[in-house]
Structures are given as structure tokens and as C-alpha cells.
């Protein structure tokens, strides 16, 4: 299982990402593709203690609105790190849908995006087993100040400047 950084520190990774077409092992905590999740949810068959959902970059975050209070975790899957749609999905989930659970970046993102992703509301990152944790944690704190309001700082700098 991949390593996990959650709330800026190494953490146990209890959830497995299920790819489209894969099946889940019984009792396993699974992050399902959106289509599988919606299919189960429409039949009221989601066990929210062991089942969560991940969004591909092209998926519409708003589709999760009916389940947002029950979901413990939402994954944002990067198939290519240059695809920045997940950044807007994250803010939509946090700011429009008020998602309060774990928002986890999965797939191919790079450490240099983690600071921005955190600002957009992502609080957990699945990272490769051989990742340099120290270097990566340094990237998480690239900046101590930002101009804009975002999920980590509700006020833009101009409302905080004295």
C-alpha cells in the first residue's frame, strides 16, 4: 500500500484505491471510481465506513452533493500532473459543497504541487514508497504567506495587512 501524508505528517494508509473495472476485497476500505460509487449510492448500498469515492479530472464534483455529509474521504485522481482540474474540484468540494472529510490527492501529481493543493483544500497525499519525505514536507511549506483567500486561509492578504 502506498505511503500517506495526512495533515502534513506521515500517516497510516487504511484505504485502497479501486480502479475502474477492479473489484474490492471484502472488508477492505475502498475508494471507488465515481461511476461505481454512484451506482451503489443510487441503490442505497454504500457502506460509508468502508467505501469512499474518487474523482477523475473530468468528473463533475457536484455529483457528490447528495452524499457529501456521509463521505469520509474523497480522492482526486491525477492521471497527468499537468492537468489542473483537480485544483478546482477541490475548492468546489470544500467551498461550495462544504465537504469536511479527508480530501486525498492520488495518482500522478508532483511534490511541488502539494502546497497549492493544500491551499485548495487537499489534506492528504498518497505518495510513492520511495518518496523523500523530508524534501516533500519542505515543499508543503514552500511559502509562509499568500495573497489570496483559499481553504487554508479564509481572508486574502489585503484584509489582513496592517
Amino acid at each position: 500500500m502506498s505511503k500517506l501524508i495526512k495533515d502534513k505528517v506521515l500517516a497510516d494508509n487504511e484505504w485502497t484505491v479501486i480502479n475502474e473495472g477492479d473489484s474490492t476485497a471484502a472488508g477492505q476500505k475502498s475508494i471507488l471510481p465515481l461511476s461505481d460509487f454512484i451506482a451503489l449510492a443510487e441503490k442505497n448500498e454504500v457502506d460509508f465506513n468502508t467505501q469512499a469515492c474518487w474523482l477523475g479530472a473530468a468528473d463533475e464534483a457536484e455529483l457528490l452533493a447528495p452524499y457529501i455529509k456521509d463521505l469520509q474521504l474523497i480522492g482526486l485522481n491525477f492521471t497527468a500532473f499537468m492537468d489542473g482540474r483537480s485544483f478546482s474540484q477541490a475548492r468546489t468540494l470544500r467551498e461550495h459543497l462544504d465537504f469536511a472529510g479527508e480530501l486525498r490527492a492520488i495518482g500522478y501529481f508532483i511534490q511541488d504541487q502539494m502546497f497549492y493543493l493544500t491551499r485548495c483544500g487537499v489534506n492528504a497525499f498518497e505518495i510513492p514508497d520511495d518518496a523523500d519525505i523530508e524534501s516533500l514536507q519542505r515543499s508543503l511549506t514552500d511559502f509562509s504567506e499568500s495573497y489570496q483567500a483559499a481553504c487554508d486561509e479564509p481572508q486574502p492578504l489585503y484584509r489582513r495587512r496592517v
Binding site: 489542473g84 467551498e95 499568500s146 489570496q148 489585503y158
Partner: protein, 554 residues
């Protein structure tokens, strides 16, 4: 001019440190080439044909004397003693060493400069009118709003990996000198019936492969709503812009595909959700931004006396008279003028400037213009606040520096990208074409008779030389490994913006001076009295030009 506080300084300093770590990881083999690519681009660093190229941001074109001296220092110590002003008011160094770039950024940070977001698929440097704050036709000074937008867009966490680059321009005057109709977002400052300040918002303009004139999505947006509205536009673009084909990834393609109405309605819907968020601007912030762009300590001068003096001097010396007529503009304050320094002396690549020239410019700005200069998107430089009675002395000092060529607004004041001599994207060279045309038209009086003609040259369809919006546009193309040049006519960049039309089959480089000569002859033969080139073209159409240029030799 905007002055950094501790927050701004800290942010730029942390950026330099971040980039140093990224560069070290790359050089240590810990960061892959393709992963370093967007990181270095967002720091303005390209790997070019001959060496890396570093693009430095000049926010909305404003520079002060210490910054000019620092740019000279960087040119001398890290480059070959010169740099280049671009068509987006930025500066490029063509010969820096990759491993020294963090040091260069460190040096620039000392004078509140940086290379943040000067390339890459993010929000780029905000551009504006070089006569901001001094133009007679100004409605509202755009610079405070440019600065507010600069800060908002700097390290915006959501919009650093857009489908493609994103450019914003702001105009505050009646006559658009910032080409706002050819930007991803163009903002025109306006006042409504009750005198309140706001913006007319245009989206989806651009040049490049698919040139498009921007569409109005909002006739009036109150000033305080600007950041939330920009955020809504960018979010819709980030989520829905095409990512499968980089040539179809700009917002102009999305707006065309969706239709302006549908696009606008999505933006408005998104905006309604965030319009009263904390990103709503405050009076305090608008006033803070405005406090950096106050009226300098102008002297009280008598306009009639000052102009009388100039008329007298001009009568005595034709060179001065020509310069006054072509390179000097009116000013909103009595007795003052704005001076455009020509970076278009024949034989010098348009926009290029040496370390010594930069230092001389710094001195001149301090002695004649409150220590500030502005870069123009036509690749010239402006001293915006010169006393009329100082103009003669200034002219005398500019001449030996090579900045006094009295050709602003003429055919020879051409916009020209670095082209195939430097740029790895280029299909053809552009600088030698510019020079050959300048040599063909070496008689200034003849150029003056021709009146205002805008000639823009791009070395490839990325259109950094804005060829689509030149009255005469030249585009370098590659045909089976050979360089050819396509000619377009009828482009216009201002309020009555228009895209040029292709004249016909392309020409080889050595034919170009004669092709331009034939176009000009056609104009001269057809023009009525003092009619301008573009008006003649609009009246007679493209055919007479085509016939003259493509007539078979018999």
C-alpha cells in the same frame, strides 16, 4: 510606483528559495526533466536554441532607476551585456546559465523584481497602457487595479496548471493602447451613470494560431467585484478548457465552442456563489493600491509659454522638430510631455538594449522623469513626465545613446519577435527581415509622408510579434526546411480592432523589402491627401495591393 511591504518581499524571497531547491533537485537528478519543465517555465526559464532564456516580469511595464541599474548589472555579469524588451512589456535575457538563474533571481529580488509566472500555463504578467496616469484621454488610472490583479494572480493556488497560458490586459483610457481585445481577458475601466468605477469585461481574445477578437461578457462590473469575477472566469476555463490539444486549449476556443452566451451564463452562475466571499475587494485595499500611484510633485508650468519655447527651438533645428512631432506625446499636466525612446534604430534588433544604455536610462529617468520609465508593448520605452523646457536637453542626451531615432509610429517602428535567431519555437528569422525593411526605407522624411503605419513581424504562428494586428503583418513560415514569409494586411490593435487578411502566397526573405515597397507604392498611388495607410486599405480593399505585388514580370 508600487513599493513592496514585508509581505511582498517575503513572498518573492521564498519563491527564490523554492526555485533554488527545485533547480538543485533537477541538477541532482531527483526531479525529472518533464517535471522540472513547468516549474522552470513558471519562473520564466526556457531552454532555447542556443542557451536558456530567462524572462523577467515588468508588471504593467513600470520600472524605476534602481531596477534599471540592476537589470544592467545582470546583463553584464550573467549575460552578454544586453537584454530584450518583449511585446508584453517584459524583459528577456538570452544567455544565462541554468545553475546561475537562482542567483539572478536573488539579485532581482533586491530591487523588487522577479520572473514569477512569466511563462507556463498560468496567469501571466498583467499588461497595460504605457501612458497610464499621464494620458489626456484617461478615464481612470489602470495601474492600481493592475497591481491588485498582479497580487491576486501571483501563486494563485487553483490556477497554476491551466489548460494553457492566460493573459490579462487593463486599459483605463478612451483609446485602447493595451490591445485588450487580444487578451484572454481584457478589462476596460469605465464609469457608470452615477460616476462609480467599474470594468467592461472582455473574454476570449488572442493572437497565435487562431486569432480572435475578444467578446464582451459584462458591460459593467463594479470595481470591488473584479477579483471574484476573474476567479469565476478562470474556474470555468480551468474545468472546461480543452486539454487534449495544446493548439485548442486557450480560453478563446472554449468561448467559441460553448458560445459567448452559454460561457457567460456559466461564469455568472459560478460568480453568484462567490461574489460576496472574502475576495470581494475593500475600499481600504483599493485606496491602498491607489496610494502608490499618486500625482508626482509636478511643477506649475505655463502651457502656452512652454509650447512657445518648443516651437521656437523646433524652427531652428529640423532634427529636434521631427523628434518632437513623432516621439513626444501630450500630457494631462500643463507644461509636461511624455517621451517615447525609440528602440528601433536601424540595425539594432527591435527591443534590444545594452547594459550601458540601461544605466544611462536610469540616470536620465532620475534627472528628467521622477526616476521612472515604462516599457511599451511596441518594444520602446517611455519617460512619462518630462518638462517641456527640458525636452531639448533630453533630446541632446538621447541622441548619442541611440534612443532618439525620430521614427515612432512610422513603418520603421516595427514590432518584431526575437525569431529564429534566438527562439526555439520560431519557423523563420524575423530580426534580419526587420533590418532589411528598415534599410529599404531609410529616408525619414519619406516615412513621415507615409504617416502612421504599423508593421508587425512574427517568426512563427505563436504571434509574439503580433502580426495579425499590424496594418502590415509579416509571418515567418517554414516550407520544407526553408524560411518564407507570409504577408497580411489590415490588422488593427486599438478600439476598432481588426484581424489582418492574408495577401497571398509567401515570399522568400530577400524579396521582402521589395514586397513592402510595392505595398507602400500601392498605398501612395491610391491615397487621398493625408489619408492613413489603414484607411486607404479599408477603402480600396486588398485587391489593388495583391495585383501590384503578384503581377507577373513581363
Amino acid at each position: 510606483m508600487y513599493v513592496y511591504d514585508e509581505h511582498d518581499r517575503n513572498i518573492v524571497k521564498e519563491r527564490v528559495e523554492q526555485f533554488r531547491r527545485q533547480t538543485n533537485r533537477y541538477l541532482d537528478g531527483k526531479l525529472k526533466e518533464e517535471e522540472f519543465l513547468p516549474l522552470r517555465l513558471q519562473n520564466g526559464l526556457y531552454i532555447q536554441r542556443l542557451a536558456p532564456m530567462l524572462r523577467i516580469a515588468v508588471p504593467y511595464g513600470m520600472l524605476n532607476a534602481p531596477q534599471l541599474r540592476k537589470l544592467a548589472h545582470v546583463a553584464r555579469h550573467y549575460d552578454k551585456g544586453y537584454c530584450h524588451f518583449t511585446t508584453r512589456q517584459n524583459i528577456q535575457y538570452n544567455w544565462p546559465a541554468l545553475e546561475e538563474v537562482p542567483d539572478i533571481l536573488d539579485e532581482l529580488a533586491e530591487v523588487e523584481m522577479h520572473a514569477i509566472q512569466t511563462s507556463g500555463n498560468c496567469i501571466r504578467n498583467v499588461t497595460s497602457d504605457q501612458f497610464a496616469g499621464v494620458a489626456r484621454d484617461e478615464i481612470i488610472d489602470p495601474r492600481p487595479y493592475c497591481e491588485i490583479i498582479r497580487q491576486w494572480s501571483t501563486f494563485h493556488p487553483e490556477f497554476a496548471f491551466l489548460p494553457r497560458k492566460f493573459k490579462i490586459a487593463v486599459s483605463g483610457s478612451e483609446s485602447d493602447r493595451a490591445a485588450i481585445r487580444f487578451h484572454d481577458i481584457g478589462l476596460q475601466l469605465v464609469q457608470n451613470e452615477s460616476g462609480a468605477t467599474g470594468f467592461k469585461v472582455l473574454v476570449g481574445g488572442g493572437l497565435g494560431r487562431t486569432p480572435v477578437i475578444g467578446s464582451v461578457v459584462r458591460e459593467y462590473l463594479p470595481e470591488k467585484d473584479i477579483l471574484t469575477y476573474l476567479e469565476a472566469i478562470l474556474r470555468i476555463y480551468n474545468l472546461h478548457g480543452r486539454r487534449d490539444n495544446k493548439y485548442k486549449a486557450r480560453i478563446k476556443i472554449l468561448v467559441k465552442a460553448m458560445g459567448v452566451e452559454e460561457f457567460t451564463s456559466r461564469v455568472e452562475k459560478e460568480w453568484e456563489r462567490i461574489c460576496d466571499s472574502q475576495m470581494l475587494l475593500t475600499d481600504k485595499e483599493i485606496n491602498r493600491a491607489k496610494s502608490f500611484f499618486t500625482r508626482p510633485q509636478y511643477e506649475e508650468l505655463n502651457e502656452a509659454e512652454e509650447s512657445q519655447l518648443l516651437i521656437g527651438l523646433a524652427e531652428k533645428e529640423k532634427g529636434f522638430k521631427d523628434w518632437l512631432q513623432h516621439n513626444v506625446s501630450s500630457h494631462k499636466v500643463d507644461g509636461y510631455r511624455a517621451v517615447t525612446l525609440s528602440f528601433k534604430a536601424t540595425g539594432i534588433p527591435p527591443g534590444d538594449v545594452t547594459d550601458k544604455q540601461l544605466e544611462a536610462l536610469a540616470d536620465l529617468s532620475e534627472r528628467y522623469s521622477f526616476g521612472e520609465v515604462r516599457a511599451t508593448h511596441q518594444q520602446n520605452m517611455v519617460l512619462a513626465d518630462v518638462k517641456a523646457h527640458d525636452l531639448y536637453d533630453l533630446w541632446m542626451e538621447l541622441r548619442p545613446l541611440g534612443f532618439a531615432t525620430a521614427n515612432i509610429g512610422t513603418l520603421n517602428d516595427m514590432i518584431c519577435c526575437p525569431g529564429g535567431d534566438f527562439c526555439s519555437l520560431a519557423n523563420a528569422k524575423s530580426i534580419p527581415i526587420a533590418e532589411a525593411i528598415q534599410r529599404e526605407f531609410d529616408d525619414l522624411d519619406y516615412l513621415y509622408d507615409l504617416g502612421k503605419i504599423e508593421l508587425n513581424i512574427s517568426g512563427c504562428m505563436n504571434a509574439c510579434g503580433h502580426h495579425h494586428i499590424g496594418h502590415i503583418g509579416v509571418l515567418g513560415v517554414d516550407k520544407k526546411g526553408e524560411e518564407f514569409y507570409q504577408v497580411q494586411l489590415g490588422g488593427v490593435q486599438g478600439n476598432d480592432a481588426a484581424l489582418g487578411k492574408v495577401l497571398g502566397p509567401s515570399f522568400s526573405g530577400h524579396e521582402m523589402p521589395q514586397v513592402i515597397r510595392k505595398l507602400i507604392d500601392t498605398f501612395v498611388d491610391n491615397r487621398t491627401q493625408d489619408e492613413e495607410f489603414i484607411d486607404t486599405y479599408r477603402r480600396i480593399g486588398i485587391d489593388p495591393f495583391k495585383e501590384r505585388v503578384y503581377v507577373k514580370a513581363n
